[in-house]
Amino acid sequence: VLSILFFAACGGGFEPPVQEYVALSPVEQAHRISMALRGLRASDAEVQMIQDDPDAVVELAEAYVQGEAFGETIRDLYAEVFRVRAVDSNLPEIGVLEGSTRMERNRILHEEPLALIEHIVNTDQPLTEMVQANWTILDEWGAKAWASHSGYDAAQGGEQVVQFTDGRPGGGVLLTNALLARWGSAGANAHRGRADMVSDTLLCEPFGGRDLPLSGDVDLSDESAVESAIWSEPVCVACHQSLDPIAAHYWYTRARVTNFLIRQSYEVGCPSALALCFPMEMYSSTIPRDAEDQGLRAEGYFGQETGDFKGLGRAIAADPRFAQCQAKRFASYLTQRDLGAIPFEEMVSLQTQLVESGFDAKALAVHIVTSPAFLAKDIVGGEGADALPGLQVLRPEQLHRTVLDLTGFSYDMEATDIGLGLIPLLRDDLVGFRAMSGGVDGFRVATPTHTATPNRLLTLATVAEEAAAALVVLEMTKNARSRKLLFALSDYSESSLRAQLVVLHRRLLREEVAQDAPEIDEGFALWEAALAASADEEGALKTLLAAYLQAPEMLYY
């Protein structure tokens, strides 16, 4: 057991209590790091690397963040932050979007800001670019849906970086078409909901969570009294002096994009550029604005003048709360703790690390997942155990990637014939199981569930059974050396089966055991029971694999 000593801070000359982390085994460490950063199990070679040199965890993590799968994790992380993968967000199949499937139209609304952040991280740009970039990323349907961009190569297809041609001054994700569509504004609220989103997602300071004091001094039913109060009544000014100037930046953006309004626009023939028709304008710097006439505050950021989104992005990037909030969000996501559960000292340490690294998201992620606390099984000699991140839970997106990687099976449903397209059932909530399996639906299920639930186990069981069936079909027709997972299974003799079980225990159950270990005896007993219950070895193998793929060690890592 690798033990790491640390001393709790303690003043007054007392002997600090000595606490000792009980580290995970090398196999468990490799898998936990790999799962957190990539949503994939560590390979045998990677496990061996940590077994040979336990100090190689940083090297391993640094390799992981250079890979494509880390980009997927970044997308998933910020999907929970911005909640853009919203089950109720969709566009109608109309105009230039005719011929698209619902899943393709969903991607228009779900992925644009996430792709932007992923690109920034993948290309080693500072994370602050997420609020300063003056470009975006669109796929082929997004390029058709949104107006005012250039540089998309339709022949190439896929997601590409494009430039705005409508004068959007920067602001990164804050001015992406999809974020504007997701976070619409009721006209009378003058984009304050969007300002709240900005403050919540980027600074971890939601205005909406604050209490509205029950004050007898303002007649809330009197519009003019309310308008006056947000300038003069101290309890109102306290929020509005900060909220309203952020909201003011959105004056030049389209307030709302709804399915209903789009259809309505097409019904009347899309009479002007302001109509909600494709390709849709989401920004116009020519909209006349007279803040004083509207009783609104001018653009600003907590007392600083910003002018436009470029200034806003610059101000946010320079705000220490941005670094602190993003560090906290990374820690929260990667270690599955609520934002509020990140200890202050840890948060400050991560914030410092992020700033000193030049807002290097990869370095931050590596730092988090290689910390002794994250790689600990327990603590002895103190009371710090309850602060450990502890066992991690397979997110639905991770379940998809893990099972695909291990077995070649993807839990999808082909529904193109009814206009939906290929539905990724672990990354969808319309007919899929993302929120039901612990994820968020971007709408009313706003926070993930990090524990076992009956729904989650039902999903895991079904995926395990379907993946077992697919794996047997995919693998057993190949010779053993070219298989992904069943490469140790040369025949159905006991020795061959035990050799294969050792592989399954290492890859799926995160434990390194010998062929004659009790754990393998249990696995072989399962095989014998399965064989007795099955018509042939193939049925028994499916049963065995279905059991291993839904074991608690698959759910937890």
């Binding site: 006209g187 009378a188 609220n189 939601p206 969570g209 209490d211 509205l212 004091p213 029950l214 007649d219 039913s221 519009e223 609520d338 099984k377 327990d378 603590i379 155990a385 309850d386 602060a387 450990l388 991140p389 502890g390 066992l391 099976f409 449903m413 082909e414 290929l422 909530d429 319309l430 007919v431 899929g432 039901m436 009313r444 299920v445 706003a446 569930t449 990090h450 524990t451 076992a452 009956p454 729904n455 186990l457 039902l458 999903t459 069981a461 079904t462 059974e465 379907e466 077992a468 697919a470 159950l509 399962l526 029971a529 399965a530 219950a533 049963t543 059991a547 074991a551 608690p552 937890y556």
Partner: protein, 442 residues
């Protein structure tokens, strides 16, 4: 979180080593304790209470629902007294041309219904208000009142809290819940023999469904692995909780697989079909009566956020009360169910007294709720609001409006604490720092 009670963990501390069978003893603690089952209905988006529960005709301070009616014939907005005529009598806005279901509901169930008006939400933001109104706290990490009530059935029922609406909040009790999904997709997991479209055209699920003996071998293996996980030496609150949750969720999953068949669930839902509120209501009654679940969360299934077209509230109320009628008559048809159930219907906020410039109304930081059930002595209204829809102070011991200096604001937290008390949970345990609204059941 002030309301987190470790009842489930202490429950497991006693029962955890006894095996699955002993976790679910015959005989319901809920019934023995006198606790109620709860059905929580959310009307998401912010209803305009002047259309129904807090009836107001247009005045200098309020734009009422009468602005959308001809006020002739049956298309007439009318404030009707469905109660005893006293100062706390139950008054409702009716319009039989637009919302006849409202009239029908109160004609039948007013004597078992209470309206609570003037609940102050302390926020104008949808999510913040929703969390407050269903949990009594500002946090979405707290369990909602449906979950709190459902815990009374944690030992007797496979599913203490069935979240049919998909918008429930469970706190640390997620392992005791079940969701069917927006399109009833759970059927793909409960009925594994059923053919469904597969990952490629022409391919169908299932690819492999273990036969009974194969399934038995799988379950034996999972239990062994579960035991190994318990003994693996993971420490700390998070790991301990997650391991305990696995044990609980696995037990409940197995029970659901059995009871979904015996309780008729599989016959009542169809893959790909999004259940409307009426369907949810019928299903709730069916599954409660079958004993699958103790308490249920429902959702009206439509948005009440009428910033632009306030008149839509007519249709929204009509459909909501059609569903509530179905729910109520259904509950009454099952012996004992009407008496042992409290239905709470709420929306996270109401709408401003006056219209905005785009044909709708914006957010207003107070709301109303409808509480009914066979055990409710109804025909009454608790709380209230003034001519401008500002919440009035109340006497929390009675729930009646109290404009004297001793009156208290009726905050969301007191309201939810009052619901906890009404269903038989101890509000002092769940809401130790809150004053409790009385008057719902005593």
């Amino acid at each position: 979180m002030k309301n987190k009670r470790i009842s489930r963990r202490s429950f497991f501390a006693g029962a955890g080593t006894l095996g699955a069978a002993s976790l679910f003893p015959l005989g319901g603690w809920a019934k023995e304790s006198g606790g109620k089952r709860i059905i929580l209905v959310q009307a998401d988006g912010g209803w305009d209470t002047t259309f129904c529960l807090n009836p107001r005709l247009s005045s200098s301070a309020i734009d009422g629902p009468d602005q959308f009616s001809t006020m002739q014939g049956v298309d007439r907005e009318e404030i009707v007294d469905f109660g005893n005529g006293g100062p706390d009598t139950l008054k409702v806005m009716i319009n039989d041309a637009k919302r006849a279901s409202v009239t029908t509901f109160f004609d039948n169930f007013a004597s078992n219904s209470i309206i609570v008006n003037g609940i102050y939400t302390s926020s104008l933001v949808h999510e913040a208000c929703r969390y407050r109104m269903i949990t009594g706290t500002r946090s979405n990490e707290s369990p909602d009142i449906g979950m709190i009530g459902g815990l009374l059935g944690s030992s007797e029922y496979a599913v203490p809290y069935l979240d049919l609406g998909g918008a429930g909040l469970f706190g640390t009790y997620s392992a005791m819940t079940l969701q069917l999904g927006r399109s009833n997709q759970i059927i793909a997991h409960l009925d594994r023999e059923r053919e469904l479209p597969g990952p490629r055209l022409g391919v169908t699920y299932p690819g492999f469904v273990p036969a009974t003996a194969q399934q038995s071998a799988i379950e034996d293996f999972l239990l062994k692995r579960q035991d190994r996980l318990v003994g693996a030496g993971f420490g700390g609150a998070s790991s301990v909780q997650r391991i305990a949750d696995y044990r609980e969720a696995l037990d409940r999953k197995e029970r659901v697989l059995v009871e979904a068949v015996s309780g008729g669930l599989l016959d009542q839902i169809e893959f790909g079909s999004t259940p409307g509120f009426g369907n949810q209501a019928e299903l709730a009654v069916s599954l409660m009566s079958a004993g699958l679940c103790h308490s249920v969360g429902l959702d009206s299934g439509v948005s009440w956020d009428t910033h632009n077209q306030l008149e839509q509230q007519n249709e929204l109320y009509k459909d909501l009360f059609l569903g509530l009628l179905s729910l109520s008559f259904g509950l009454k048809q099952v012996p004992g169910l009407w008496e042992e159930t409290i239905v709470v219907v709420l929306s996270e906020m109401t709408r401003k007294p006056r219209m905005n410039t785009t044909g709708g109304k914006d957010h207003w930081p107070s709301t109303s709720a409808l509480v009914f059930g066979g055990g409710i002595s109804g025909g009454r209204t608790l709380g209230g609001s003034d001519a401008g829809l500002n919440a009035l102070n109340v006497n929390l011991s009675s729930g009646l409006v109290d404009s004297s200096s001793s009156g208290s604001s009726l905050y969301y937290s007191s309201f939810v604490a009052g619901l906890a008390h009404a269903v038989g949970q101890d509000p002092a345990e769940w809401f130790p720092h809150e004053e409790v609204l009385h008057g719902i059941v005593d």
